[in-house]
Structure formats: C-alpha cells, structure tokens
C-alpha cells in the first residue's frame, strides 16, 4: 500500500471536514447557542491534524485499486470519529460510542438514531446531523475530487471505491469534471427542494435539515415523530424528491445533455420506476381499510419512496400495517435504489443483472450449447461485472446473516434483530417492531452498536472497502 499517499489524502479529507464543521458554528451563532464552540474546537483539531498530514505531497502519487479501497474505508472511519466529537463535547450525546453511531449513521445516510428524543438537541447539533447526510449522500471523495485539484492520474480508483453500483463510469474524460457535474446536479436538486418546502410553509431551519436528509436519502429529522405532523403537500414534495434522488445521476446528466433517448432508455431507471409504481399500488390497496383512499395513496407513496431510496422518514407508523405491506417494504429495503444515486441497498441494477443471470442459467440447462451474453442497456455485460455482482450478493447475505447472529446476543425478538440489520446494512434507518418508525436504537448493547456501525459503513461503501480494510494483505507495503 502507498502509505504516503493514503496519509496525504486523509489529510485533505480532514481539512475538508474542518471546513464543513464551520457550518454548524454559523447555525450556533444565529441561534445564540454556546454549544457551537464544540464544533469550532473540533474544526480546529481537524484542521491541524489534516494540515500536518498533507504537508508534504508524496513523490509516488499512484493510487492502485487496493489503495483506493483502503483509503476510502479509512477516510469514512476517520471522518466519523472526528465528526462525532462535537456531540460528546457539547453534551448532546454524552457517550462517545453513541455519538459515533449517530455520525456514522449520518455520513452513511442511514438515519438510524440512538436518540430517544431529538427535539431537546441544540440546533447546531441537529444541523450537523442532517448535514452529514448531504455530504455522505454523494460522497466525500467525489466532493474532494470536485474541489481539490489533485494528484494526477489515478484518482478514479478513489471515486470507484466510493460510488455505489456494479459499474462506475465517468460522464466526461476528467474525474474532476465528472465530480463537478455530479455535485452540480446534486446541488440544484437540493436548492429546488429547499425552496419548494419553504414555499409550502415549512420553517426555514426544518426545511433545510429535511432537504439534506431527503436528497442525501438519509432520514435524520428534527422532530420526534419524523414526518407525521407535516402537511400533505410537504410530505408529497418530500416523496417526489426522495424518489428523484434514488435515480441514477447519469439519467440527469443525459437529460441536461439532451440525450433523451439514452436517458429514458436506461434499463435500471425503468426497472426502478416500475418497482416504485407497482409497490405503491399494492400497498395502497392493502391499507385502504385503515385510511381514506387519498391518505392511503399518500402514505403508501411516501413509505415506498422512503424505503426503496433508503431514506427512512415516516409519515405513518408502518409497523402497524398489514403483513403484506410490511414484508413488501422489507424486500424493498434490500433491493434499494439505483446505482450511481445517493441511495443505498443492493441496487436495482444488480438485481436486474442477477435475474438475467438466473434466466440464462435456466436456458443453459435446457439448451446446454446455447451461447448467450447478458445484455444491459444495449451492450453485453462483461464477465467480470457478472462475477462481481454474484460475489457481492453472496458476501452481502453472509454479512447480513452473521450480523443478525451477533445482534441476537442482546436477546430481542427476531423481527427487531433482522430488520435492525436490514435497516443499517441498507442505510435505511427505521426497521420494524422495536426499531420501527417510532422506535430507536438506544437500547442495544455496545457490541451490537459496533456491529451495526460496521454494517452501515459496509452498506454505504458496498462492502468491499470495509473487507479490504480488515484484510492484512492489503496493508502490505508494495512501494
């Protein structure tokens, strides 16, 4: 591993984080909260450490694939550890492990909280909690590549390690320019939602926090009852933006570039939209007995959007819904959003590829000599991608099952354990039963919290970076 380069990049990440930590300071100044000082202290600490680490640019700047994976995993860990400091310093979350859980949950856009009540928190802490969603949604490295003119040729390996999906491509030749395009799209969506929410009379601070939570598909709110007390219009706006942010951002790039045929031809986007619509219809029918038709449709749409994009807001306590709806939601949790979006889960494109692989396997049993290439978006999928997808799914379920086993040590019921792991590994937030929309994660033991922290990071970074971090061979110094 190229240690010099890893340290240098981590230094830059810390410097960026220190700048981000100044934003809650501004919030603290506006609301005259003394707690803001904790963010300032952390910002200074991060700046000092970051500057020291990035003082000297290493002579070997090559970042190989393995270095990219390890660097990204390390950076997310370090970022969360630093980002958790202010919560403990200002006393909003007294226990550091809890604060780390909350911050990891923020950066990975999970939205699972250990807080029993969020309303007593300082405004600056609430802001920081939500802002971590925004940063984590598109990714800190993508941000870094967009703003820091960096390091020469091999930075694409960093972006590959951080961006979700089986295949990560560039829109334009330069990584930096691609990152800029991504963040521009992201920023425009953010501003659009914020303005709409304010126009529909959500208080400015709440609108800002919820916008961050929505476009990052995170799910931290500022109220104990999540989205339940907001107006129908505000809920519907959020539904639309959640679903929009679960779409592959390549779609928007094509739209802007006026390549409409390519945009609407994207297999993944079509599959995703169909999945959303079908789920909404089924759940609406399933729950019409509990609400009027209009309300049923609104709640179904919101809940489908929040779960499939792995956001995790709630307008209704879906824990009380019929089994069919609950099970469907849990399945949507696992499928997740599109690759190249801000959402989590296993990604729609992976499922499309897997279904096509299954179909091919069956065809091959019937006609053993049938040569058949799997097609996706009009091109055949590389064998490597298919293998990677299959392995990913195998590892995913292995980790899922192992985590469930470890969590069961705490002796809660199966639904709680299973959905807690599903909700963290897929970066959703709320699960069912004790961790349902009205519950939280505070009652778990420290061991379980550690397991879930790992699951959240593994889910956001798509497992491989975290596994490489734990593989001693990847730490070996090759150059």
């Amino acid at each position: 591993m190229n240690y010099g380069m890893v340290i240098y990049i981590l230094g830059w990440i810390l410097k960026l984080e220190s700048v981000m930590l100044l934003l809650p300071c501004i919030v603290a100044v506006i609301y005259r909260e003394p707690a803001g000082i904790s963010f300032l202290i952390t910002a200074v600490v991060a700046l000092v450490i970051g500057t020291l680490m990035s003082l000297r640019k290493p002579t070997r700047t090559k970042v190989y694939g393995r270095d990219g994976f390890v660097t990204v995993a390390l950076a997310w860990l370090v970022m969360s550890l630093i980002g958790a400091l202010p919560f403990t310093l200002n006393g909003d979350i007294p226990f550091y492990l809890d604060a780390v859980f909350e911050t990891v949950s923020g950066f990975t856009t999970t939205g699972a909280s250990i807080l029993t009540a969020v309303e007593p928190l300082n405004k600056c802490s609430l802001f920081w909690r939500s802002f971590t969603h925004w940063v984590g949604g598109m990714g800190i490295f993508v941000f870094m590549l967009a703003v820091v003119p960096l390091l020469g040729g091999s930075t694409f390996n960093l972006m590959k390690a951080e961006s979700p999906g089986p295949v990560v491509g560039k829109f334009v030749p330069r990584v930096g320019d691609t990152a800029k395009i991504l963040y521009t799209i992201y920023f425009i969506i953010t501003v659009a939602e914020f303005i709409l929410l304010v126009v529909f009379r959500m208080p400015v601070f709440e609108a800002l926090c919820h916008t961050f939570g929505t476009v990052g598909t995170g799910g931290f709110g500022v109220k104990n009852d999540s989205y339940m007390s907001y107006t129908a219009a505000q809920q519907n706006i959020t539904t639309i933006f959640m679903i929009a942010c679960g779409i592959n951002f390549q779609f928007y790039f094509y739209l802007v570039a006026r390549k409409l045929r390519l945009a609407f031809g994207m297999t993944e986007v079509r599959a995703y939209i169909s999945l959303v619509l079908v789920s909404i219809v089924i759940i609406t029918i399933n729950i019409t007995g509990m609400y009027s038709f209009g309300d049923a449709l609104r709640h179904a749409a919101f809940q489908v959007g929040t779960i499939i994009t792995t956001t995790g807001y709630a307008t209704a306590d879906f824990d009380k819904w019929p089994e069919l709806s609950k099970t469907l939601l849990v399945l949507l949790m696992i499928i997740g959003a599109c690759a190249g979006s801000t959402g989590g889960g296993m990604k729609v494109s992976r499922f499309v590829i897997v279904f096509k692989t299954i179909r091919k396997e069956i065809d091959n049993i019937i006609h053993p000599r049938w040569i058949k290439k799997i097609q996706f978006d009009g091109a055949s999928v590389a064998h490597e991608t298919i293998r990677n997808t299959n392995v990913f799914i195998a590892i995913y379920f292995t980790i899922f099952l192992l985590s469930t086993l470890l969590v069961s040590v705490d002796n809660f019921d199966f639904t709680t354990n299973f959905t807690a792991v599903a909700a963290t590994l897929n970066n959703i937030g709320p699960g069912l039963n004790l961790v349902g929309p009205t519950g939280n994660y505070s009652f778990f033991s420290p061991l379980t919290k550690c397991v879930l922290i790992f699951d959240m990071l593994a889910g956001r970074l798509e497992i491989f970076p975290m596994l490489l971090l734990l593989t001693p061979r990847s730490w070996k110094r090759y150059n």
């Binding site: 090559k62 020469g152 040729g153 091999s154 930075t155 694409f156 560039k170 030749p173 320019d177």
Partner: protein, 454 residues
C-alpha cells in the same frame, strides 16, 4: 481542448498519458478492453470500448466537440478511414499514423485529399532521428523544429575549449561563425543567454545553426567532429530503407546486412547506392568480415530489441570511436537500457508520440493568438515559438537594440519573403514576418508583445 485517440497501443497510450498530464481532456477508444485498462487505471482520461472507425462510437466519444482526432491503430486503412469520418463530422484536426511506404510516399496527396493535419510514419520519423545522430555525431542531442527547417544542436563545452570563459559576442567577432546560442543549461538551470553571457566549461549549450556552420563551430571550439563517413545497418526493415535514403543523401556510405534474400533484392532495387549483404546479422564472423571494427557508425535496427542491444554492445566492444544507434521498440525497461553503454537509443513509437504531442501543443498555443507554432526544447524547460507579425503588434519597425525586452528572451530567426535570417541589433520586426523566439517555458509568452518589458 478535447482530444480523441483511436487505438491504445504503445503510441496511443504514450500520447494519452502525456496529454492528460498537460491538462487536455482525453478520450481513448480501442476495441480491446484489456488494453484500455491501463488508461482507466493509470490516467485521468475516458476509456471507451468500441470500433474507432464506427461513426456511432465516435459520436459517443464526443467527436462533434473534439479539437483533435489522433488515429493510431495498427491498420493504416482504419486510421485513414477514421480521420475521414472525423473530418466529415466535426471541425477538428485529424492526425493519422500510416506505415505502409506506398501511402507515405503519397503523403502530400493523402494529406490534402483527406484534409488531414498530419500524416506520420513512425519508421520514417525514427529513421530521420537516426540520420541526424549520424550527421552530427558529436552532438548530445538534436531537436528539430519549424517543420525540420531549423535544427537545435546541444553539445557540452569541453574543459579546454577556446570558448570557456568567453562571452557570447566572441563567437561572432573572433570565431566568425554564424551560429546562435539559444539555450544554455548549467547545473540544472536553464538560461536564455544575451550577448555578454560568459560560457563556462561543462555548460550544455544548444545552438541553432545550419549543417556547415555547426560543423565549423564545433571544430573551432575544440569539439572533435570526426564525420561519420560510412554506416553499417544491421536489419533491413522499413526503417532501414528510410534511413539509408536519408544518409545517402548527405553523402554517407551505407552497408546493410539483411537475412532474407527476397528482402535484400528489394532493398537493392530501392537503394542502388547502398551495399546490401545478405546474411545473418547476428553472426559474429560475418560482422567482423564486413568490417564492424572499421566503420564509423553502426545502426542496429532488426525487429528484436534484445538482439539490437546485443549487437550494439558487440559493436562498441570492437571499436572505440564507433557511433552507434539502437532501435528499441517494445522493451519498457528504460532505466536498465539507459544504464547500458549503448550510445543513442531511438524508439520510433516514442518519436511518433513526441511528434504528435508537439503538434497538439502548438495547436493549443495558436488557438486565439498569433502563435503559429510552439516547440518545447531543452527537456521542455524552454520554448521556441513561431509568431506571425500582424498590424496589431506594437514591436514593429523598431531596431532590436532599441527594443526594451524582458530578460531571457532571444529573437532567433526572422522569416521574411520566404527567406530566413538571424537578426542583428539593427534589424527590426516588420508586419508580415514570421519570428522565432526562444523563451523560458515558465514565462508563458503567448503574444509577441509579451516580450516587451513595459
């Protein structure tokens, strides 16, 4: 600037890497995904799998907005077709690599007929470079610019040289030779010298001069210029043909050893002045029989790099003063090759890449300015820039002595009415001239008026 490179072999990837580092937006197309892996892993460029001669692929790569299209696949016909498609689609400069001598002999027609900005033949480019090395055996490095019109020769000033400790004006006044010292490198520092600059022993001096003046100058300052009178070329490929023609034109005797009888016969037809020996070039006895100890120059240009290196080492072991040139095409262990005592090493593919990169650079420099051409010299630390003088230029009609220029600027040549001359202090720049300046790269001179101090 957007650049599309079709073909990701050695040349394609070398160009892509260099241009990426210089800040261009590069897209590389190849139909072999494994070759593209080097691009997507190692550099900040877009890699696209596909057929570069397909309009759809080119459009996907953004041909409409591209400024340069470089076709360097292994097929001449594909390269030409690719450039034709590119020209039809967008307003761009198309560059094709063409190796078949049949095509490159019709270079002018092809270039005009297809509207290509550049047609490059690696073998011929490499042969040209080898030819230069034999013509100026005492020069450490020879670069050409202004389409080969001007040569820049670099030599190290020996300890007991007449020139050591003398100012540059001495060259004109006492030596009475017409050479222009353009760049001096001293202890890693690059200097563009003025007339009162004092030269020291050990300086690397780059001069602009014609062949005759250069020889005369080298002789006078105490650099032995034993001219190469005859060259033994081992291997009879395309490169040999171009080089033999080139050398014969400057009166150097050529002897070629080629294994294949048919090829020998073809060469003999093409090169009536050359001596063609049909035999195995790796046979020690044959080499000695053909006088490898006695010739002034040996060029090892067989198809195998390892064999070439071996041959050169053998030639150098047989004779002390022999000037050797080795062709290396595929081997990539540059550091090891540099550490061997091989003399000059020429890599036709790198030469090709270098030519193309030069072209792209000078194209960028000329966009929206009156720069006509731009050449990086002295390891890229200095630039020779050709400007076209227009009415807007302020520095016209003022004798150069009265022109208040910045430091480290040299007005090297003026082309007026199709004639080139080295200006003196009494000459002035006139509208319609082409002027070649030598400047430091870091000064970023992009307009003729940038040289003025005020």
């Amino acid at each position: 600037m957007n650049i599309i490179i079709v073909g990701c072999g050695k040349v394609g990837s070398t160009i892509a890497k260099q241009l990426c580092n210089e800040g261009y937006d590069v897209t590389v197309i190849d139909n072999n995904p494994n070759k593209l892996r080097a691009v997507s892993d190692g550099m900040d460029a877009m890699a696209m799998v596909g057929d570069g001669t397909s309009y759809t692929t080119l459009r996907e790569a953004g041909i409409e907005n591209a400024d340069v299209l470089i076709a360097v696949t292994d097929s001449d016909e594909k390269n030409l077709l690719c450039c034709v498609i590119g020209k039809r689609t967008g307003n761009l400069a198309a560059i094709a690599r063409v190796r078949n001598p049949v095509y490159s002999n019709e270079r002018e027609f092809l270039q005009k007929g297809f509207g290509l900005a550049m047609l490059i033949n690696p073998e011929s480019a490499g042969a040209e470079e080898m030819g230069r090395i034999f013509r100026f055996p005492s020069a450490i490095d020879i670069e050409t610019f202004a389409k080969g019109k001007i040569e820049l020769l670099t030599v190290r000033i020996p300890d007991k040289s007449l020139l050591a400790g003398k100012p540059l004006t001495y060259i004109h006044q006492k030596l009475r030779t017409d050479v222009l010292v353009a760049v001096v490198r001293r202890k890693g520092q690059v200097i563009i010298p003025s007339g009162d600059f004092v030269i020291e022993a050990g300086d690397l001096v780059s001069v602009i001069a014609g062949h005759e003046q250069a020889h005369e100058f080298f002789r006078k300052i105490g650099i032995e210029t034993h001219r190469v009178r005859d060259v033994l070329i081992i291997g009879g490929g395309k490169m040999t043909y171009y080089m033999a023609k080139n050398l014969a034109a400057s009166g150097i005797g050529v002897k070629i050893i080629e294994k294949d009888l048919k090829r020998s016969e073809v060469l003999s037809e093409l090169l009536p002045d050359a001596e063609i020996i049909c035999g195995d070039g790796t046979d020690e006895d044959l080499l000695i029989e053909e006088g490898i100890e006695k010739v002034d120059g040996v060029a090892a240009v067989t198809g195998m790099d390892e064999q070439n290196i071996m041959l050169t080492l053998f030639a150098r072991s047989q004779s002390e003063n022999v000037k050797t040139v080795t062709k290396v095409g595929k081997l990539s262990f540059t550091k090891v090759i540099d550490s061997l005592d091989l003399g000059s090493v020429v890599n036709p593919k790198e030469t090709t890449a270098e030519y193309i990169i030069q072209f792209v650079r000078s194209m960028r420099a000329s966009m929206g300015s009156n720069v006509e051409n731009l050449y990086k010299i002295a390891n890229g630390e200095a630039e020779a820039i050709e400007f076209h003088v227009t009415e807007k230029t302020r520095a016209v009609s003022i004798p150069l002595v009265k022109l208040n220029t910045k430091k480290n600027i040299l007005i090297g040549k003026i082309f007026r009415n199709g004639r080139a001359f080295t200006p003196t202090g009494h000459d002035s720049i006139e509208v319609g001239d082409s002027v070649i300046l030598v400047v430091l790269s870091e000064d970023k001179i992009r307009d003729l008026d940038d040289i003025l101090a005020y």
